[in-house]
Amino acid sequence: MSALPTTDTSSAAVTEQRRPRHLGRFLLPTYSWLVIAYLVFPIVVMIIYSFNRVISGLQLVSFAWNGFTFQWYRQWSNIPGLTSAFWLTLRLAIVSTLIATVLGTLLAIALVRYRPPKFRGKGAIEQILFLNIAAPEIVMGASLLGLFVTFNVARGFLTLVLAHVMFSIAYVTVTVRARLAGFDLSLEEASYDLGANPFSTFRLVTLPLIMPGVLAGALMAFALSIDDFVTSNFVSGSSVPFPVWVYGASRVGTPPQVFVFGTVIFTVGIVFAILSLGLSRKKN
């Protein structure tokens, strides 16, 4: 060993150092899988207990394991309130996803394409989007209730749609914009050069290219809508969505069917997520 390492040995030493082997190969992966296990753990518990027999008179989920049964899957629709709450949530999610995806995508296109001299107020819109995402949900729910009470709007399906679109737009915009960032504008110019008008350019060139982003945004909006409790609880009135119903019931006792619905929603969601993952990978 010389006092001053030659170029060769130094670069070798650096390469040796560059990849922290034990960290990258063993410690970090083990740790990360433990975190993932922690995230998945309650879901596994939910799925297992959706198959749990009930031995007491009241058909409520119990902490003890009483044996395996398909009963709750066969009787999934036995609780009228729960079933109608679920269908309401589904309708609500579909309507609000459609609206939020269209509005959010248009806004994302505006934010990616145009800058302040041509688009004044861009910064303000971005601040509002961040505030919308960061604000505590209870503040948004409470202030919406204040709005509906002030203007005497009856609470129900309509107010739920208004609220759900409101809290979904920002997420859709952010998701679509992230995918739009690498968009090649020359493709649109080529379309114009070939004589297409703005509308058919959008339909035939832009939309197909940003479709994976739009789908991801729609998935996000759908998930947010199905999941929402706090805002819905403020603006639902007589139309009770699934999470609000479950919360109300859980204060007395949770029927096992709740876990059945939870398991089914989870499975469908995961399948969609994996499908969209596969889709975006194929596109790339």
Binding site: V14, Q17, R18, P20, G24, S32, V35, Y38, L39, V40, P42, I43, V45, Y49, V61, F63, V102, L103, I109, A110, Y114, F119, G121, G123, I125, Q127, I128, L129, F130, L131, I133, A134, A135, P136, E137, I138, V139, A142, S143, L145, G146, L147, V149, A163, A170, A223, D227, D228, V230, N233, F242, P243, V246, S250, T254, I270, A273, L277, S280, R281
Partner: protein, 304 residues
């Protein structure tokens, strides 16, 4: 929000040219109009109405309210509900710190070693979102209950005294908050780490930095905006959360969200609820303002 279009065209401009100019200027405003209007009417206006309710003074006799710009109510309600504010602050802060500590290594691992499986791991981080927030919290109630999985295991192995319980304590609320908001911490951290230019890191190694030095002086400083964004996106929602407290905390350790919800939905005390909501809103705005002040407002929405 949308600005009115400047109308400074000289009168001599031909109508067709004016139309083309207008057509060229309109698109960004037209594209953002529907979403902007929706957010204005259903997000900004309601917040302003709530602030105005707080600043009005109502006469108890007639019930009529007059705008008096009375900010004095805010310190008053903060004082009135000080224990609940302090509980929320402590619970949310502890949960956020736990989340930052838990998620930094995994975000680091996915960003630097995720390779082709990056998207798969990101979905795994988001997996809790595929189960309803309420059901997730209910399952934790289930898991942490006295004859649930965790306590049965601990007591069976004599790792906890037989009268030890978690449910109904602050510990359960913090555990629930930490679980429910973990993805909100992990994703901004991932975005920040992913964005670090690998050439900068290699330059540090070329300049004989060892791994620890490279981490402390390159990776960590470059991640600071992401850590702050993660902190905001976790702390603010956790601070206003009441579901975890109501399901896991029982009647003890009431958080401020519970108070707001009860004032609005049970007591129909809209004025009281509005004042507390305005305080929450001010806290959120302070956090966002601080971020913009310290780290530049341009970067804030990059972590969403």
């Amino acid at each position: 929000m949308d600005q009115p279009l400047p109308t400074d065209h000289p009168g001599s401009v031909k109508p067709t040219r004016r139309l083309t100019a207008l057509r060229r200027r309109l698109p960004p405003y037209l594209l953002s109009l529907p979403a902007g209007l929706w957010l204005l009417l259903l997000f900004i206006v309601p917040l302003l109405i709530m602030v105005s309710i707080t600043l009005k003074t109502c006469s108890p006799a007639s019930g009529a309210c007059v705008m008096t710009w009375n900010w004095g109510d805010l310190p008053h309600v903060v004082n009135l509900y000080r224990p609940q504010f302090i509980t929320s602050l402590i619970f949310a802060a502890i949960a956020t710190i736990i989340d930052l500590v838990i998620s930094f290594p995994i975000a680091y691992w996915i960003a630097f070693y995720g390779g082709r499986k990056k998207n798969f791991f990101l979905i795994m981080l988001l997996v809790p979102f595929f189960v309803s927030f309420i059901i997730r919290t209910l399952v934790w109630e289930f898991i942490l209950s006295n004859n649930g999985i965790v306590l049965t295991f601990l007591k069976h192995n004599h790792l906890a005294p037989s009268n030890f319980h978690i449910l109904g304590t602050g510990l359960a609320v913090i555990a629930g908050l930490a679980y429910n908001y973990l993805p909100f911490t992990a994703l901004p951290l991932y975005v920040a780490l992913e964005r670090i230019d690998r050439r900068v890191l290699n330059a540090a190694y070329d300049l004989y930095a060892n791994r620890r030095v490279a981490f402390m002086r390159v990776i960590l400083p470059l991640t600071v905006p992401g850590i702050f964004a993660a902190f905001l996106l976790t702390f603010i929602p956790a601070f206003g959360d009441y579901v975890n407290q109501e399901i896991l905390g029982g009647t003890s350790n009431t958080m401020i969200g519970t108070v707001i919800q009860n004032l609005f939905l049970i007591d129909s005390d809209y004025a009281g609820g509005a004042s507390l909501s305005v305080v929450l809103l001010i806290i959120s705005l302070l956090g966002i303002w601080l971020y913009a002040r310290l780290l530049g407002s341009r970067t804030i929405e990059e972590y969403l």
